[in-house]
Structures are given as structure tokens and as C-alpha cells.
């Protein structure tokens, strides 16, 4: 078979994802009530096999080339796993802070992208409004200053990634045991010049998300919502820490399921279930079982699991956030957007602190220790906790790899959100425009690595199929 044909085969599958044909099927029971909603996600599963036999130090670079949507998160999670392999138990201050700066830069640009380009049209125009206007071009026409801010904030984050990780997307900044470059004072000063403006814009974005959520709380609270467990890394003192920490899981009431778990032992706590209808697995907390052990990750989960945030403005915002649910976990799907903007502000506060830290100009960049055969690296990626797990043989080749990405952790929650929307909005045996809009809004709250979350050109490439209790197709509607 020619190379071209081989290429085609692998290309076609992911391209359907790029084009974004998200598919939802809704199954009815005998009384024509919603029995189950399924969100079908085509996940690529060959990666683990693909990297077998490759030298371990190539992996942080490889993953960021393949995962161009959140390259820095994969890059850092892989590098953290490789730190364990090379026995680098504590990085130098320069190395850890450069990596953190890179990570907060990624968080800032990713959250800004999601908010301004994918979510703000829903908030600014209302999610029942005409999709032809409800898109970023509509925002640019009606709120031109805001659209410019979105682009500039994203650019700022990307420039930080470029300065700390080499080229924008395929940076080579983190290597097993540390980093390969520090930040010069000249590079730093460029970022310091604009930092106050970025802080200001982040405050503005947070205000939009907060005001919208508070104002529409009665409508938003039940929308696609359900009680769930929540999982994230937290620092030893319980603070939010997006770069490093131990695992904490809480239930819907805020009681701890486990806490301060060393993530090298994640397999003792987390398992994955396979379901026949889905390419994507369903992770769950082992002690609770697959039925009750599923959980949410990402901004909402992180706001719920942490005891506090260690930057003043984001902490003030967190208190306002938790007050809405009387200091109990917030289980409102649409509150993801507000939580995301609190993290946007937290990230820029962190960036400011780091830029003023002289350790960034440190020259001691790499450490090594006793070589190990197995390593796990976790990071709080913009969309949620990201797991990288590798085993390396004596010839330095990868023998085993296991990745659990945030969209997979949120698989069951996204299905629940769609189901809730279907239960509330489906009437009769027809799929309406309104239902399509609402399903899209619920999925988008999770910021999945999917393109069915698209707003591009006012199009929503999402297909919904409705089946009766015998499995007969009743209706099918696509917007493309």
C-alpha cells in the first residue's frame, strides 16, 4: 500500500474530529421518556503502542507534537513522569519556576480562548439566540474591545510559552530532570510591561462570567446539572495548585473520599470502565465502583476541592463563588465558566509573582538521581487532571504508556449533562433546534478537546439521533 493511502487512513479519523461531527444519541423508554443519552467521542487509541520502543527523553517532545490543542500540558505531564524515571525528586528552583511559568502561560491562553471565542457568545447573546449571531464574529461586531482583549490575552500566554519552551507549539523547554533554558531579564521585562493590562482584562472577563452566572442563577442552576464527585490535585496545605500536588477527591456534599494521595499510586484509587457503545473509557474511583465512583475534573472541580487559593484576588473571587452554594461544592454545570475565569485571574497573578522572582534567571537547571523503571506525571491541565504513566526498560526504551486525559475523566459527566438537558428539553419525538442549541451549550461548559464545541461561523456540527425503546430511529437532526 502506498504511503499516501496509509496516511489517509489515519488522517481521516481525526479529521472528522477536526471538522467536528459530534454525535449524541438519545434513547427513550416505553413511555417515551428519556432513558439514556450518549455522547459519542471518537478517541484516538494508538498512541500507547506508538511510543513503545522509543527513548524516554523523546516523549515530552513527541506528545506535544501530536497533541497540538494542549501541547504544554502534555509536554509537562510527560516531563514530570520522566523526572521520576531519572530520579529527579526535587527540581532546582529555576527549573520548577520556569515550568510553572510555562504552565500558567498555557492556562491563561487556553482559558482566554475558551472564554472569549467559545463561551462569551452564549453569555453575551443568551444561549437561545440565533446561532448565526451567537458566535465570535457576532461578539466582535457588538463588543469589539472585548474581542481584541481575547486575542491579545491569548497572544500574551503564547508568548510566555514561546519564551519558556522555545517555539510556540513544539517547545522543548522541559526535559527529564528540569528545563533547558531560563528566562533572561530582557525577556522578562517584555512581559512585565503588559502585566497590569492583562490583570485588568482578566478581572473584566471574570466580572462578565460572575455577573452572568449570578444574574441567571435560577435558570442556570438546573441546566445540565447533577450532583457528582470532584477530583483534582491540591497542594499539601489544601491550596489550589495547578502544577503539582497530591490527589484529593470529594463527594457532592464536600466530604473527602480520599486526600493527599501520592499520584504514583493512582492505580490503587482510579480504574477505567469500558462500555460497548463508546470509544472513550469511563474512569471511576475504585472504592465507590463504576456506578457511583465517576467524578468531574477541571475548573469547577478544582474550585470545589481546594481549601483556598494562594493569590489574593482569585481567593476573594473563590469566596464569592463558594458563597453562592453556601460553601458546599458547586455542582452547577454552567458554573464551569465562572470557575474558569477565577483560574484565569489566578494564573495571571501567578505569572506576575513568578516574573518578579529572581529564580527565573537561575543557571542551575537540571538534576538527576537514582534511575527508576516506572514513573507517573500528573498536572492540572486547563480542562482538568491529566495523567501520564510510563514504564522504561534498561535500554531507556518505553515499554508501557498509559494516558488519561481530562476529556476522558469528564466522559460520564458530559453524558449526564446531555442526558439532563434531554430530559428537560425534549418534548415529543422530534429533535428541535432549541434542543440542539442546549445540548451544545452543556457540552461546551466542559471545554472538551472536541470540535463539536465549535462556534465557527455560527455552525454547530452536532448530530442528535433519537431512538425508541426498540432501538428504532425516530428522528435525526444535524447542524453543519
Amino acid at each position: 500500500m502506498s504511503t499516501e493511502k496509509k496516511l489517509k487512513r489515519i488522517i481521516i479519523e481525526p479529521v472528522t474530529r477536526v471538522e467536528g461531527h459530534g454525535k449524541v444519541s438519545i434513547l427513550l423508554d416505553e413511555k417515551n421518556k428519556v432513558r439514556q443519552a450518549r455522547l459519542h467521542i471518537v478517541e484516538f487509541r494508538g498512541f500507547e503502542r506508538f511510543i513503545q520502543g522509543r527513548p524516554y527523553w523523546e516523549v515530552p517532545v513527541l506528545v506535544q507534537r501530536l497533541c497540538g490543542i494542549c501541547p504544554v500540558s502534555h509536554h509537562l505531564a510527560a516531563a514530570k513522569a520522566m523526572d521520576v524515571i531519572v530520579g529527579a525528586d526535587k527540581l532546582t528552583p529555576a527549573a520548577e519556576k520556569i515550568r510553572r511559568l510555562m504552565h500558567y502561560g498555557q492556562m491563561f491562553q487556553s482559558h482566554a480562548l475558551h472564554f472569549f471565542h467559545l463561551c462569551s457568545p452564549d453569555l453575551l447573546f443568551g444561549f437561545e439566540s440565533d446561532p448565526a449571531i451567537r458566535n465570535v464574529i457576532g461578539v466582535a461586531a457588538k463588543f469589539p474591545a472585548l474581542a481584541v482583549q481575547g486575542v491579545m490575552m491569548r497572544k500574551y500566554g503564547q508568548e510566555i510559552i514561546k519564551a519558556t519552551a522555545g517555539k510556540k507549539i513544539h517547545g522543548t523547554g522541559a526535559i527529564p530532570g528540569g528545563v533547558n533554558k531560563n528566562l533572561s531579564t530582557a525577556e522578562r521585562d517584555v512581559f512585565l510591561k503588559d502585566i497590569e493590562k492583562m490583570m485588568d482584562w482578566a478581572r473584566g472577563a471574570l466580572k462578565i462570567a460572575k455577573d452572568y452566572t449570578v444574574e441567571h442563577l435560577q435558570t442556570l442552576a438546573p441546566f445540565g446539572s447533577f450532583d457528582s464527585n470532584h477530583l483534582s490535585l491540591v497542594r499539601k496545605d489544601g491550596a489550589m495548585d495547578l502544577y503539582h500536588g497530591n490527589l484529593r477527591a470529594i463527594d457532592a456534599q464536600g466530604d473527602k473520599i480520599f486526600d493527599q494521595v501520592d499520584y504514583q499510586k493512582y492505580l490503587d484509587y482510579i480504574a477505567e470502565e469500558v462500555r460497548s457503545w463508546s470509544y472513550m473509557k469511563f474512569p471511576f474511583i475504585k472504592q465507590l465502583g463504576p456506578e457511583n465512583g465517576w467524578y468531574r475534573v477541571g475548573p469547577l472541580a478544582r474550585l470545589n476541592t481546594c481549601d483556598f487559593i494562594d493569590t489574593p484576588e482569585a481567593e476573594k473571587a473563590r469566596k464569592e463563588f463558594t458563597a453562592v452554594t453556601n460553601n458546599k461544592p458547586n455542582n452547577i454545570t454552567m458554573a464551569y465558566h465562572w470557575a474558569r475565569m477565577i483560574e484565569l485571574l489566578h494564573s495571571i497573578e501567578k505569572i506576575k509573582d513568578l516574573l518578579n522572582d529572581k529564580d527565573l534567571q537561575g543557571k542551575d537547571l537540571v538534576v538527576k538521581g537514582k534511575r527508576r523503571e516506572e514513573g507517573v506525571g500528573l498536572i492540572e491541565a486547563p480542562r482538568g487532571t491529566l495523567f501520564h504513566h510510563y514504564r522504561v526498560n534498561k535500554n531507556d526504551q518505553i515499554e508501557m504508556a498509559n494516558l488519561i486525559v481530562s476529556t476522558t475523566h469528564n466522559n460520564e459527566p458530559m453524558n449526564r449533562a446531555v442526558q439532563k438537558v434531554a430530559e428537560d428539553k425534549l418534548s415529543g419525538q422530534k429533535i428541535t433546534e432549541g434542543l440542539l442549541n442546549n445540548v451544545e451549550v452543556a457540552i461546551r461548559a466542559y471545554d472538551p478537546c472536541l470540535s463539536c464545541a465549535t462556534h465557527a461561523m455560527g455552525k454547530m456540527p452536532l448530530t442528535i439521533e433519537l431512538y425508541d425503546h426498540n432501538g428504532n430511529l425516530l428522528d435525526r437532526k444535524t447542524k453543519s
Binding site: E19, L66, C67, I137, A147, I169, C449, T454, A456
Partner: protein
């Protein structure tokens, strides 16, 4: 995990939109996030937005990687 395959811009329009192509599969994309996109640029797309321009060398490196992935998938099925 989701993959980010470089696509080539075959059309750039004045209204900030365009067409990206990989191996004949075309996709309409929003280009407003890019700094001066040009026909022939390789881009990474997320949720209908082109989010990054890659230089040709980097794009080819990546396409080569995906090609290897494709061969592996053939062998595995």
C-alpha cells in the same frame, strides 16, 4: 487523547474565514486568531478555529509522525 494534525490553508477570505485541507478533507475554519494568515500556511485547528500557524518544516515533521502512526494502525488491525 485528541490529535492535532496540521492542515493547509487553501483559501483565505477577507471576512476572517477560510478553508483548510488535509489529504482532500476540507474544513471551513475561522482565522481571526491568526496573525496574517496566508494561503499555503499550515495551521492547527481547534473547535473550528485555526489556533496556530506552523512553519513548513515543523508541519512536515508532524505529518511524518502521523504517517508513522497510520502505518502502525494498519499493522495493528
Amino acid at each position: 487523547m485528541c490529535l492535532a494534525i496540521p492542515m493547509k490553508l487553501t483559501e483565505v477570505r477577507d471576512d476572517g474565514t477560510g478553508i483548510a485541507d488535509i489529504d482532500g478533507a476540507k474544513s471551513e475554519v475561522n482565522l481571526t486568531l491568526l496573525d496574517k494568515p496566508e494561503k499555503g500556511n499550515y495551521v492547527i485547528i481547534h473547535a473550528g478555529f485555526a489556533i496556530e500557524i506552523l512553519d513548513e518544516k515543523e508541519a512536515n515533521e508532524r505529518i511524518k509522525l502521523f504517517e508513522e502512526l497510520g502505518q502502525l494502525n494498519q499493522a495493528g488491525h
